[in-house]
């Protein structure tokens, strides 16, 4: 006769260090300035790293004659360091709002994610403070991902036509990484990543969100499940937890012009719907964060500022959950250490934008590439809105993370990257939960990664 023994699973504890506000916080006085300062700051930060990488690759003497791009002379081997710039005919006029036929149907917001700017006749240029120089890439580099804003060291010869015929391009590569600590004795620990909950979306099936909440709070599954669940030390919500009804509605109306469009102001009904969505989010967060520490990042649809880095949710929007010490309101992008594991990521806007610059649809490869640039959002401010920082570029990745993610992606994808100096990085595309009903668990010990789907009904279809 078996006796039912009640197992009490204790949530595993973890060391948590929050770098968000230090790195991504915007001080009230920091505006307004022009964007050229940001490019300077970026070049200054990455120049020593790219130099070191180039020396390692081309030999110690390779950098003895680095020139400004406009000083390049024909026939001599030229080495120059600067920012790459991809000239694309397809890049939209940034002021499109003022020139567009306002009655023309606009592409749905959800499709804009897949818009491409790049084309056949794009020109890659290298720019420093002297000017710009067109690059002619060798066949071997033809398919390599280069986007505007990357700092690179370029070697080649200037042709008669005044373009630099490149033989090699050197990027900063993966930065130094702190070693991981030993596995915890208490068993394997995990962080959970989720994005795009879109709580309060009128047309949305709330069941998967419900299941997610119950799963995380240990109200679902058998003992075995509970043991695993109790080892999830932290939930990171990577943006778009709430719903912007105006955007949803614009998509629903087929992109037709609305009187409220030009006002750039929400119609009162949308305003109410958004407020309602935020209230529902508050309830959800209250429930979840009373069981597990939660990091809440804002995303493109959340009631938050527009320019990156997006600042944390204001406490007045989440009056109840923000009272809990376990709810951590974060910035987007995000940077924290959990038990010594450096976790860096964004709600997806930088990756979506980079993806518009490259022909390939391999989002994972682009994300890995951005690690090699040591930059979270190279295309900002070119086509991605960001603050005009004056003295620093917060998007530079100073220390190679162990876990690097981008939220609100079309599909779950993941890859382990091993760096030349033994750096180990888990790179993850966190899917949009409202569409994929999937959350991702990453082991803090092994950096192994597991998706959990809440697509079907409870229990049986749950995969772990």
């Amino acid at each position: 006769m078996a006796t039912t023994k009640r197992i009490i699973a204790e949530r595993a504890a973890s060391q948590f260090e929050d770098h968000n506000r230090d790195i991504f916080g915007v001080q009230p006085g920091e505006l307004p300035h022009q964007f050229s300062n940001l490019y300077f700051a970026r070049l200054n930060a990455l120049r020593p790293r790219v130099e070191a990488a180039a020396k390692a690759r081309w030999g110690a003497t390779a950098l003895e004659n680095v020139v400004k791009v406009l000083d390049a002379v024909p026939d001599a081997t030229t080495v120059a360091i600067g920012t790459l710039y991809r000239e694309m005919k397809g890049k939209p006029d940034i002021m499109e709002d003022s020139t567009r036929d306002v009655l023309e149907k606009r592409p749905a917001e959800s499709e804009r994610m897949f818009t491409k700017y790049c084309g056949e006749d794009d020109v890659l240029l290298l720019e420093d403070d002297s000017g710009r120089l067109a690059l002619k890439l060798p066949e071997a580099l033809a398919d390599t991902i280069f986007v505007t804003g990357m700092v690179a060291c370029v070697r080649g010869k200037l042709s008669e036509k005044g373009e630099l015929v490149v033989d090699d391009v050197c990027l900063p590569g993966l930065g130094p990484q702190r070693p991981l600590g030993p596995p915890a004795a208490s068993g394997e620990r995990f962080v959970a990543l989720v994005s795009g909950l879109h709580i309060g979306h009128r047309t949305q099936d709330m069941l998967p969100v419900q299941l997610l909440a119950e799963h995380l709070t240990g109200q679902l599954g058998c003992d075995e499940d509970h043991r695993l669940q109790s080892n999830i030390v932290r939930l990171i919500i990577a943006g778009n937890a709430s719903t912007n009804p105006a955007l949803a509605l614009a998509d629903a109306s087929g992109g037709e012009w609305q009187p409220s469009d030009a006002l750039k102001r929400m119609a009162p009904t949308d305003q109410k719907a958004l407020a309602q969505s935020v209230r529902t989010l508050d309830q959800f967060l209250t429930a979840v964060s009373s069981a597990i520490p939660v990091d809440l990042m804002p995303g493109s649809d959340d009631p938050c500022n527009f320019l990156l880095p997006q600042q944390p949710f204001h406490t007045s929007l989440l009056p109840h959950s923000s009272q809990l010490a376990t709810l951590n309101l974060c910035t987007n992008p995000y940077c924290c250490d959990v038990d010594g594991v450096r976790i860096v990521g964004s709600a997806g806007q930088p990756l979506d934008d980079m993806q518009r610059y490259v022909p390939s649809d391999d989002r994972l490869a682009t994300l890995v590439r951005s690690l090699e640039f040591q930059h979270l959002a190279p295309t900002a401010p070119d086509a991605l809105g960001c603050y005009p920082f004056e003295r620093r570029d917060p998007f530079v990745i100073n220390e190679c993370p162990h876990l690097y993610f981008a939220g609100n992606q079309p599909r779950f994808e993941s890859k382990a990257v091993i760096g030349p100096e033994g750096q180990r990085v888990r790179v993850v595309l966190v899917p949009d939960f409202a569409k994929e009903h999937t959350c991702v668990l990453v082991s803090l010990d092994t950096l192994e990664c597991t998706p959990i789907s809440f697509a079907g009904l409870a229990g049986d279809s749950m995969v772990m």
């Binding site: 307004p32 406009l70 070119d382």
Partner: protein, 1127 residues
Amino acid sequence: MPPTFNKRPADGGGSADAKRPARPRPDDDDDEGLDADEMIEEEEDLMMEDGMLPMPEEDEPLVLLGQADMAKFEREWRRPPLPALDPAVDSIDFQQIEADYSNVPSAPEFARGSTEPKEAVIRIFGVTQGGHSVCAHVHGFKPYFYVRAPAGFTKDGVPGFKAALKARLKAALPAKDGQQSECVLHCDTVTRQSIMHYAFKESATFIRIVVALPTMVATARRLLEQGLPLPGIGSVTFETFESNCVFVMRYMVDRSIVGCNWLTLPAGTWRQRGALSGGSDGDPGGSSGDAPKPATHCQLEIDIWFADVISHQPEGEWMRIAPMRILSFDIECSGRPGIFPEPEKDAIIQIANHVTLQGSTQPVLKNIFCLKETAPISGAQVLAFETEAEMLRSWHQFVLACDADILTGYNIGNFDLPYLLGRAATLKIGSFPYLGRVKGMVTKVKEKMFQSKQTGSREMKEINIEGRVQFDVMTVLMRDYKLSSYSLNAVCAHFLGEQKEDVHHSIISELQAGSPETRRRLAVYCLKDAYLPQRLLQKLMCIINYAEMARVTGVPLSYLLTRGQQIKVMSQLYRKAKSLGLLLPVSSRKGAEGEKFEGATVIDPIKGFYPDPIATLDFASLYPSIMMAHNLCYSTLVRRSELGKLNPDEYGKSPTGDCFVKASTHKGILPQILEELLTARKKAKADMKAEKAKGKDFDPLTYAVYDGRQLALKISANSVYGFTGAQVGQLPCLEISSTVTAYGRQMIDDTKAQVESHFNRANGYEHDAIVVYGDTDSVMIKFGTSDLGTSMKLAQEAADRVTKTFLNPIKLEFEKCYHPYLLMNKKRYAGLLWTNVEKYDKMDCKGIETARRDNCQLIREIMDTSLKAILIHSRPDLAVAYVKQQISMLLMNEMDMSKLVITKALTKTSDQYAVGNKQAHVELAARIKKRDTNLAPKVGDRVPYVMIKAASGAKAWEKAEDPIYVLENNIPLDTDWYMEHQLQEPIKRLFEPILPDNLDSLLKGDHTRKIKKAMPTTGGLMGFVAVTQRCLGCKASLPAGAPTTEGEAALCAACKPNEGDVYLAKLQQHANCERLYWQCFVQCQRVTGGSYQDIIGIARDSPLYMQMKKAQKDLKEAREMLARFGV
């Protein structure tokens, strides 16, 4: 060349447009609109003192900063070296681009019997296919003109006449010309006809008078018109003929040379002048020892007898365009704060140059002359100098060495060139002002006023640079295009689709004072400014189109930019008249100002919105074809007194009562010219088609030449009518022009009657056709059917039917249908234009505020968007919603201010306007000048302004204000004024056919009830106001003693529980500000063209500048507001 400027008739004035007598509008809107006030041609003597002023000594050698070698540069600047030529075997082909003449001592070899101490030698400048510059000195052509011989005058009277004229002329000439031994070289009698009035095939006797020098023509003419005592007859006053034809024109007409055509100097007829500076490294002597020294900087200099020059008509291989060297340049000056640079005080710091060959897109040369060391620029030569004088001297050397055929740039004629010359004078660089090809000719600046209907009034500077054509892109654009602003920035945005940087003078000085790198920054900017005019020339194909215009009309290229429209028609008349033995009188008729005649007809529009197709029938080239059909000409006009001499079937009586003989009796010269022009146009169009059909052999350049030609032919054909109607013209004949319009009116009315009487139910058609509107040369017909195809078929039938009833070559054509069609008023309509049944071609709007430039952008946008909604999207409801929303935005102070800016051209300064006639933009310009001279608009500029709230009863001119000033000081705009004066009328007009019953709801509905005004930061009562914080939720004043900590200061106690909702709303606003801020600045950064460059120059007249300023301000305010909620 003697320049001609239009002199304003006594009463004329830009403001008098409305009062101007109704002048018929020639043909459709693509005619050239002849100026009524063009001045009569007069030979003006601009000859240099004496051909041979010595060129000042070369200054000491130039020293370049850095390692560069001046001599090496100079070698690179030159044209390809000239191969050795043998006059006995080689003939020389070249395309002439410019011609003038000079009075020089006669060359014995070319005297051929003349004993005059000086003769007028024509200089023809040109380029060979190999890119070598040529100057041909053409000897032996003499100026002449005609007078009508008095009755009974015979051959025998000639010697007496000659002697009398000679005596008088000698006395009247200035001393230096009086030395000419024989001023009247030759007189003889000829048999000719005057072009004026039908002459009944009778010829008259004329005396041809050949004089020694061109300048004597005008004097002789004056004497003859005043009266000349003839032996045995007494004092006779003479009517002169063709005495106003300028000398070079005369030569070109007589030798069948047209502008920009190819000439051949056959082997054995020419003599090369001594070696040129260009070939100095080759053989030094030239061939013959006795050949005179070169007088110009051209590579090849030739002497030749005038009759030996062979002229080729621009056909076949002679159609091509030689690789002319085009130099585009731009200067930068240092400035002092608040003062526009003055050549007496402010230095030139950089001169950027781009040299290209016509027909190629890549520059052959790119360089920049800089003051002080400047960091190198890839792809461009950088020449740096320690002193400005050295820089200017070396630039002068560059101009001579590169030997450009065409000088271009933006506003070079009124700024860059005069400034360079002024600066050289200040620095006392004696060698500088010799920029032309003729050695020893000083380049001078003359101030002129240029007035024409096309460009309005402008202060102009006239600069003589012999042998090079000045092709100022700004002048070209002002002549050929109507734009709201002619700043280089606006023009580039319009034609090239890109904004350009505009560096303010104050920043220029800073950059110059900085390091070699900052000077390079400036140099890159300056180079771009030199490059843009070149791109514009290419894009708009100016050179090709102007060359074709010169060929078609026969005038030299430079005339097209410096002279009015009439010379072009005159040139054609002279040519045609010569071939027919006709002479042109010198018009003494200054067409009386009061003389009015009726313009074109307009059939009253039946206003409304037509969802069914409306077919449009057009008369092709209406006025030219009327002139051809009815044989209207000077030479066919019958004097009323002489009507009795004709059979009634020999002439036609026009609706105005004027009579012209029929073509069968005597074919007019104007109809002949027109026929030739239109035939040539048909051919050019056929050639275009043939060229296109060539497939892979298609040559875009040839195609462009044909296209330029057909355009030039069309414009020329249309301008003939205007020429006859010009009131102060060379040869006005109002009988012709009023007859033309009268026939035009009759034809329109006829067409209407025919269409309506035939296409009706009575004749078995499904519906009754109605002409809903008709204007000048077109009628709009509603056939009643809703099917586009049927409508087109009926329209074609109607066109054919009506054409049959008119004289050949008048043709009514069916080209397009409007479907749907919105007819608002006379000359105001819009519709989707269809030429086939599959897809509409475009949305066509006439006379609607989408195009008018003295309206603000807002109304243009509203009209454009509304029309799109109605016509394209078929959603009038959307249009209504859109208009309401825009009005609401305006009233709520949410409109982007750049959309409310109005620009007007400043034609005179305020003190030139009559007292009491104050105009907004003029007063504003004066006010800005008081604030900052630097920013003050100059005469000719367009002044941007917005209307601001002022005390009630303030005049409009008191309300105009500089938009940037308004933005910076938060001055509230007068939205009521915009509603009343800008929006109301156009919106009413547009929506009247759509909302006939409910029009008021658009302008006075609920959406107009909410108003918001900006709070000014300066002036008025603001100094006395204490600012209190208001609750962001309900706008209640917060108690003065309320806690000032952030987070407490945002809301009143009542709103506090809803903090989240209030915050959400404000957040949204903040996010929008952020987005706009980022967009503006990134856009500016893109304009700047480099990510590392600070944005320093965005033109103040660019909408971007205003948006940038506004975004900056708005975001700051939004952030401050958000901060009140605390972090």
